[in-house]
Amino acid sequence: MAGAVAAVLGLLLLLGSAGGSTGPPRDSLREELLLSPLPSGDLAATFQFRARWDSELHREGVSHYRLFPKALGQLISKFLVRELHLSLTQGFWRTRTWGQPYLQAPAGAELWVWFQDSVTDVDKAWKELSNILSGIFCASLNFIDSTNTVTPTASFKPLGLANVTDHHLLRYAVLPREVVCTENLTPWKKLLPCGSKAGLAVLLKAERLFHTSYHSQAVHIRPICRDASCQSVSWELRQTLTVVFDTFSIGQGKRDWSLFKMFSRTVTEACPLASESKIYVDISSKTQENELLEVTPLPLSMHEASVQGDRRTYAVYDLLSPSLFNVSRSLNVQLKWKRPQDSLDLSTPVLHAQRYVSGYGLQTGEISTLIYNTHPYRAFPVILLETVPWYLRLYVHTLVITTKGKENKPSYIHYQPAQDRRRPHLLEMLIQLPANSVTKITIQFERALLKWTEYTPDPNHGFYVSPSVLSALVPSVIAMKAEDAEQSPLFTSLFPSSDGSSYFVRLYTEPLLVNLPTPDFSMPYNVICLTCTVVAVCYGSFYNLLTRTFHVEEPSRGGLAKRLANIIRKVRGVPPL
């Protein structure tokens, strides 16, 4: 009896210890800042904060959140989200002068979400999700409804693990009119484990960040493999913030910059919760011509990577290494150009695009997109996604694609026409871009007259057309080796790379501003009265003709007025009526 009890107790202990050895799911935080001078002289600073959580959010009932923010974790488990990408951007990335971006976002707010296949009503989940995100990020994402949501079929494939790619689980919406301000930055910073108190996030001060040519903050949530064998799934949250500083205005005419000049702050310590905290400075120009620039303090290590078809060298400052803060308490990375740069190495990016509206008057117009492929000998296909609001009625029979003067037929075209006040136009095409060419895509549209309540309070500002999206696997000039995601810098592992010969690029064109004809907003009562008068004229005339008959007029005796008039006439001596 006692032996049996002991055996049961021993069994319980074993089970207990076995259960206890799993413990709470592990999470880790990596933060990095990438400072890259752009060919035009500006400076791009890209912050990335990546929290990785080894937990199956959908299956286990999770209640203990540490580094992964609770607001987003609950969102994922409640709405069965597979991937979520939200970006708020102010400004436009000028690809031609700044080069290819690591992660571009369209002007305004962009949200695209992949849901799990167990979701029954995707549209309902999408609506609730956008409303909750609107509350979390203090952005007007509640304006996302069926009139600006589309379901792309070929673009926006999942960036994380995906075993099902039924595109009906994907929703994509852009709000080009959205403005980004401090109110959006504060909740974004609150999601960081260290907040803005320690680590790289101390540099994120709103007054400097919004004095930039381009400001984009984003949140990306996706499932990734936990390890190389990919037996289980981890959740990755990346918060990225990209700003482009105009060095001529901050450097008083010189292209030198420093962390203090840009952010009016310096870094004092790494975030204690981070397992890795690094600053990368792109000094590729240094290796091309010796002693072109000088970085202070001297970097402790260098890192070489092939990023976007280019070999680049980075100076690395590891904030967690104890030797970094030996000399001074704060780290102020500075870069000085030794020689004035008169010939800038403006290497044009392989793929860039621009879009504009042509035509005159308020009746019709034409949207033209120009896509440039500057690769000297390689042709590659690009997927173009255009979302046009319903009040610009596209005519797909006027779609013309020309390259080098000849017609270029797309190999895949998916067109979903708009329904008035219900859904927008969706046009997706796979276009082959020949080497060293310009492709022009034009489509004509008609402008609709809306009901007076459907205009914004400033109707003559115009109506926005969301930027179109170009996704392409650009062939790279040099071979890139696939590196382990955990070891390489964060900025190299944004997009999953399939092979070393090409890299994925997603570009956005400019948003367009189109004027619509407006009715006179002061006239509703007048219009109703006048139109009803015209209808009444018809009704009255017909009523008279239908209900009355012709009679010979009988001379009437005369009413009181006539008799009075006759009396006055008699007095005057005039013949009576």
Partner: protein, 435 residues
């Protein structure tokens, strides 16, 4: 009589061919007065392009034509100009034959009434003679073919021309007395644009008159014939609608065509009254006023049938005019159809009160439409109120024109039965009033 008609047709076709080849063709097809969202040629091409892409043309909100048009132009898209010229010619020829027959009927009826001594003694100058009626069919055909509205409608390749052809064939079949063909063409006309439903009443009255069935609610013959005609009409309509289903294997075309005509979601400016009214409407009342405006088109049928049961062709003319004025997306092609009938009533000229002012109003408004559109849309120096005002004036002009003709018609009828020179009891000239 055939030679002048052929000459007229040749001239009309030449004018259209010249305009097709000129630069005006593009300008005319963009005009909102000529092309509405229901019958613009650009939308027909768009619908066929969507079909080629594998998308149903009715999945968007651009294409609102019936499947019949898809059937027709799928094969004839290369010869579209020829098709529209031929439809215009067919309409003119149908109207010519119809009016020719109608004149015979009118003359026979007049003779009968004169022999029955129904007319007063001094109405000799009101009696119509075959001499004066001889050129009316030609005038009707030419009025239709050479009307600038028709020419613009043809050059713009608006499918309104096809609707007009169907209605013209319906009129021809009715006047010839063929119940079956009349029912079939009426069903086709209703299927194309819904509003010709109201032409059922005048056609029925004319056919009853032709069959010498008195229009009495208690008469068995009346109900028998009415149910016969109605059954033929409904059956043909059902057959045509079912045939349309089999084109794309879906009923999508019903909300896209008829739902669109009835609920007026597209507020593109046109010469009608709906667009600005619903652009400035409070959302709360939108449904109410849509119903009111649609009922307004169908509402005049019964009262007019009661008043004009002895004169069904005049009733048809007034009904056609009411449809053209109050339909949800009118174009000048619709106006051209009822204007073609005006030579039929040229004997009413002496009783028309405001014909000069009304014709001036209509001509000036037609000339001002493109000017004010340009000022609003292209120059930006005017706003939508200017174009709306001209729309209102044009419609008032049309309404007063029709009521003027109605007044003149009723007055002539009164004079025919009561005498032309009316005297009062004391011998002085009498005034005639509507009381």
């Amino acid at each position: 009589m055939a030679a002048p008609l052929v000459l007229g047709i040749v001239v009309a076709v030449t004018v259209r061919a010249v305009l097709y080849r000129s630069s005006l063709a593009g300008f005319i097809s963009e005009r909102v007065e000529v092309a509405s969202p229901l019958n613009a040629w650009k939308r027909v091409v768009e619908g066929l392009a969507l079909l080629d892409l594998g998308v149903s043309p009715y999945s968007g909100d651009v294409f609102h034509e019936t499947p019949l048009i898809i059937y027709l132009f799928h094969f004839l898209i290369e010869y579209s100009e020829l098709v529209f010229m031929i439809t215009d010619v067919l309409t003119a020829v149908a109207l010519y034959l119809a009016v020719q027959d109608f004149n015979k009927v009118v003359f026979k009826k007049q003779k009968l009434l004169m022999e029955l001594d129904r007319y007063a003694s001094d109405v000799a100058e009101l009696i119509r003679t075959p001499m004066e009626m001889h050129y009316i069919p030609l005038k009707v055909a030419l009025f239709y073919l050479l009307n600038p509205y028709t020419v613009m409608s043809c050059v713009a390749k608006s499918t309104c021309a096809i609707n007009n052809t169907v209605i013209a064939f319906f009129i021809l079949a009715t006047i010839k007395g063929s119940t079956l063909l009349s029912a079939i063409f009426l069903a086709l006309a209703t299927y194309q644009s819904l509003y010709p439903l109201t032409l059922f009443a005048p056609a029925l009255l004319y056919l009853l008159q032709r069959e010498f069935i008195p229009v009495k609610l208690k008469s068995k013959g009346f109900w028998l014939y009415t149910t016969q005609y109605a059954a033929l009409y409904l059956c043909s309509l059902v057959v045509i609608v079912c045939l349309s289903f089999f084109l794309l294997n879906s009923w999508d075309f019903i909300p896209s065509v008829y739902g669109f005509i009835l609920s007026v979601p597209d507020l593109t400016p046109n010469i009608g009254l709906f667009w600005y009214f619903f652009a400035e409407m409070f959302e709360h009342f939108s449904l109410f006023f849509v119903c009111v405006f649609q009922i307004n088109v169908f509402f005049y049928t019964i009262p007019l049938a009661v008043k004009l049961k002895e004169h069904p062709i005049f009733f048809l003319f007034v009904q056609l005019a009411i449809i053209s004025i109050f339909k949800s997306y009118p174009t000048v092609g619709d106006v051209a159809l009822y204007m073609a009938f005006l030579p039929l009533w040229s004997h009413l000229y002496r009783f028309l009160r405001n014909i000069f002012i009304l014709s001036c109003v209509l001509i000036v408004c037609s000339l001002l439409f493109p000017v004010l559109w340009h000022l609003w849309i292209y120059a930006g120096s005017a706003n939508s109120n200017f174009y709306y005002a001209i729309t209102l004036t044009f419609n008032v002009g049309q309404i007063l024109l029709i009521s003027d003709y109605f007044y003149a018609f009723l007055r002539r009828e009164y004079y025919l039965t009561h005498g032309l020179y009316l005297t009062r009891k004391d011998g002085t000239e009498a005034m005639l009033v509507l009381k």
